[in-house]
Subunit: 152 residues, 4 copies
């Protein structure tokens, strides 16, 4: 994969500030990991409060951190005055999300002026070993002239 | 759409008990609405703790209740000793989830012995008016001989 | 579903002319059926030359007419100087496409300035009876100022 | 990605014979390239008869060879008496399929007893240079005890 050039040198600050405004992330207990141009990682430790009926991470929780990981991967390449919107994504669950931690790794597959396509991989860690538990293909939209950061 | 015959007369109890074991639903504040054969509704009032960076419901939260609405629509048609697993879903976001409440309506499109395909519509209510905010196409898998309910 | 107002009164001519330029349609033997604002139908009689290894319509053939049915449903609502591009679609195969004819019915689910979301249903007719064999959820993009019709 | 062990040593013959029975492939002019355990390549030279309205490969043609590339990647890992069925796939079009040849590369992402998840990349070659034009995420189903090869 080609390395990406961020349009805004301050991309990491923008990503971290926007993530901090996603209150669902604190509600779930998710934190931002590595932020690089076109690549963003989100981590989520297990709690029973995040579970489906068998005690594993709910697929929607997996989808939530994956959607943000892909969204911020796209956003990291945007100019400073643009914001980001999820158009759609598809998720395949590859294995039960049974473990102590999820890690979502979002990567830009194809950047574009209006639409950016991202791949997201989600891994579940159990007893110190990580394995893939979900894969997503996602389309993000750039909204120019609408900074993500609230005015004021 | 053809009406569906549930394989187990006690389907509603099974759905409601399984939903109650999905601890993420209580964490989000989601409740189960109508449960009919092949059709299940989930409701979720707004709280800032569920939001993305602009204050709307996060797309992953929308996906979470939609995934369960479709999953339980499939599960409502299963025999008593089967459990349900999400294979995959695709979600299109149709409008910002900006409002006081989400309502996800999951419906079986095509039941099958192993795989069931569901449609899920999600509506956002604002100032007493509902509009569609997301649509999903989902594939669920039936696991026979593995009751959802934990042995005890 | 709300009825749609076409932006260009001449939408049907535009759709029929563009379809006639899709040479794959003649290669497969597909014809355009009903064209209404936001709704387009494509028909395809069976020939062994369209088959997968068991003699049924290949899933890609089903996807081909479905993609065009959805694309032209979106295009029917566009202004005269715009063209249409498939961003992505997801297809679920609901039953073997075993029969004498396919019928794809594309419908706009949510029109938008840039992106339009469509539902497409594909039916297979066998011995005079039609049944659903595939369902698609598709995202189309509008390119303004780039008429579909070649200059000259 | 882990290398895969084929369940049937004769996997390549089975894949090549089944591909030869997909009559749509000859109709389009597609040929089978490399066949390895869990990885299958399909090639398709351009002809105007395969085009959409602007003269490029139709997205459905891209989807057709991609679906078979992924399907045969899954099938290459199956036991000899099993056949393969597409459950669903999602395709993102990354660039116009404008060129002299398409190449679809299907790879198993996650093999399973019943369901196998595949990634497919499609490249378009123009003036001797290849670039990605589509990416797919696909779910295939294994039907045991139903050999692909017709009896007799």
């Amino acid at each position: 994969m080609a390395p990406f050039e961020p349009a805004d040198a301050d991309y990491e600050t923008r990503v971290r500030e926007s993530f901090a405004r996603q209150r669902i992330m604190a509600t779930l207990g998710a934190t931002l990991g590595r932020v690089a141009p076109g690549e963003v990682e989100i981590l989520l430790p297990y709690r029973p409060e995040l579970s489906q009926q068998h005690g594993f991470f709910h697929a929607g929780v997996t989808a939530t951190i994956a959607d943000s990981a892909g969204g911020y991967a796209a956003y990291s390449l945007y100019p400073a005055d643009a914001s980001v919107l999820t158009v759609e994504f598809k998720i395949n669950l590859l294995a039960p999300a049974d473990g102590e931690r999820l890690r979502a790794l979002g990567r830009v597959r194809k950047p574009g002026r209006t639409l950016t396509v991202c791949d997201i991989e989600v891994f579940v860690e159990k007893a110190g070993r990580e394995k893939p538990c979900a894969t997503l293909l996602q389309t993000m939209m750039r909204l120019d002239g609408r900074p993500d950061r609230p005015a004021g």
